[in-house]
């Protein structure tokens, strides 16, 4: 497993808290898939995560973002998206 960056570590913690992960946040592989296979999250989990992200980082994830396929692909891609759009 690759090392998590600082932001990835933070986002892993946010995900673990939002959806009650059994895996400890620091053990999450940054490249593991979030949706369905991989971490096995569903659309409701992703909504929880999106709500937590908007509270913590001050921006909204949008359903009509053409990049959604990549944004939600993994911890790494989600963190990269947050780094780009965060307002706090």
């Amino acid at each position: 497993m690759e090392q998590q960056t600082k932001l990835e570590g933070e986002v892993a913690k946010l995900i673990a808290e939002a959806v009650n992960l059994e895996t400890p946040a620091e053990a999450l592989d940054p490249d593991i898939r979030l949706f369905r296979e991989g971490l096995g999250l569903d659309s409701i989990d992703l909504l929880e995560i999106a709500l937590a992200i908007s509270r913590k980082y001050g921006f909204q994830l949008r359903s009509d973002d053409p990049a959604n396929g990549t944004i939600f692909a993994s911890l790494r891609t989600l963190s990269a998206h947050i780094a780009q759009h965060r307002t706090r």
């Binding site: 409701i44 992703l46 359903s63 959604n68 396929g69």
Partner: protein, 303 residues
Amino acid sequence: MKTATGAAWLAEPERGSAAAIGLISWLTLKLGRGATRWLLYPVCLYFLACSGQSRRASRAYLVRVLGRKAGVRDVLRHYHVFASTVHDRVLLVRGRCEEFDISVQGAAKVDGILAQGRGCILLGSHLGSFEVLRALGHFKINTPVNIVMHEDNAAKTGRVLAHLAPELQDRVIAPGRPETMLRVKECLERGEIVGILGDRPLGGDRIWPCRFLGETARFPLGPLLLAGTLGAPVVLFFGLYLGGSRYEVHFETLVEGETVAREQRPEVAARWLERYVEWLEHYARRAPYNWFNFYDFWDAGAH
């Protein structure tokens, strides 16, 4: 998926060929409802002869809801009610509501919510016609209605309808995508209605067992978890077909709109779901032939 095969039988290209549906729709719009309704009889007889699985499912359901033996005549009546609602859909999506005698009860429950600028989840079912909702503009509810449903289903049952009313296609929200629930949230935030059929798992769903007509069946918990997460009001919707040109629409308030803490959410959602299933049973008894789940509903979890 087995759940989809039964119910969509009339519209499935491999059964009722797309060409035949296209022809019937065209004739219906040209000649009107009354002049084309007789076509439903040969269609029903054809399905009675050819669809063993739906026939068995129909009978198994009818025995439960009627509390007596169900014969071929009952199954035929069941098919005819379903075929009637599919036939009427062609006119409903075209806004031809004057052909129908529709009574509405409880519309104020939805009005009250929308008047506050809030959106609402309209939780329907495969009991009766959801399309009769298209007639609500007729009753001064002019808020956009989005519907969560499988696009491939929509493509099958809806290719003809999509052609008739292309504007409705934009309002279909595909389930099981990463952004599905985000889209629902955005629709609700804009004060719109989001329709969900709450009696069939949409795949990959969280399931909860509830007693329905005397035996346990599996229902999706997802829509109510969503309501608890977003604090969205949930109103139940039943569009029952009562024969002739008569429809009876019922709205029932299920949840006023309260955000539930995450720890309590599964439990609270399950309680709401149980109430939904009680209403479902209530209206299934009121209009028993309106049940359009033509697969083994109580055994669905095994598939």
